[in-house]
């Protein structure tokens, strides 16, 4: 296998970090840019380029997840969904607190999904109800 093909295969693997919708749209052109910027005989993605791709993928995923309003039923029943998300968030926090109380420190990880639900509820409230 040539160096270029080797490098391209590795870049393609990195690009799998991105959401499908984004890849369908941009994968080919991002690959063109990466290959155009590659040094002669380069076989592995550089650390800075790899880190940049992973960070961008996280950013795009975040934007994808928080895109509002995502579903028809969310738009149709915004009040219900906001209450539901707040309820789920509180429930997650209570479960997390009980776990921590029982000595399972990993229970603090419940804060992350709870925060996401609160954030989505907040976004929906502003997107639809205002």
């Amino acid at each position: 296998m040539t160096d270029a093909a080797d490098l391209e295969r590795r870049y393609r693997r990195l690009l799998r970090c991105f959401p499908t919708r984004y890849r369908r749209e941009h994968e080919q052109e991002i690959l063109s840019v990466l290959m155009a910027g590659a040094a002669e005989g380069q076989r592995r993605p550089g650390l800075a380029d790899s880190a940049d791709l992973v960070m961008s993928a996280i950013f795009i995923w975040w934007r994808e997840v928080t895109r509002q309003p995502r579903w028809q039923w969310e738009r149709r029943h915004p009040r219900l969904i906001v209450r539901l998300r707040v309820a789920i968030g509180i429930w997650l926090l209570v479960v997390g607190a009980i776990l921590v109380g029982e000595g399972y420190w990993l229970g603090v990880l419940m804060v992350a999904p709870a925060a996401l639900h609160f954030y989505l509820a907040y976004r929906l409230r502003h997107a639809v109800l205002s």
Partner: protein
């Protein structure tokens, strides 16, 4: 938008496109040249910015070409994009003029 200052990378990307449509790698090399080698955009960052600028309708896809089996998608500035860039450039210029006049009062250049 409109009130908030533009990030430098965004400003440079729009400036690169103000001279005519360009593809991804062309934008990277142009931005590097405009910024005197200071700003070197990487692929992930560039396309995150291009995707957002397109969603905001400041840029659009101009055309696509296949060169050496690789996709080249050219982007161009839209008229709202031109206006946004002109506004931002005027804002930066106004700030720079005030800064220069206070550093060198009465037009005395050191």
């Amino acid at each position: 938008m409109g009130i908030r200052a533009m990030q430098e990378a965004t400003f440079l990307i729009l400036t690169a496109l103000a001279g005519g449509s360009q593809h991804g790698y062309g934008i990277i090399t142009d931005v590097e040249q405009i910024s005197d080698g200071r700003v070197r955009l990487r692929a992930g960052t560039l396309y995150t910015a291009l995707d957002r600028l397109r969603a905001d309708r400041l840029i659009d896809i101009d055309r696509e070409e296949i060169v050496d089996n690789r996709l080249r998608r050219y982007y161009r500035l839209t008229s709202p994009g031109e206006k946004r860039l002109a506004d931002e450039a005027a804002r930066l210029q106004a700030n720079a003029v005030v800064a220069m006049s206070r550093l060198h009062p009465a037009g005395v250049l050191r």
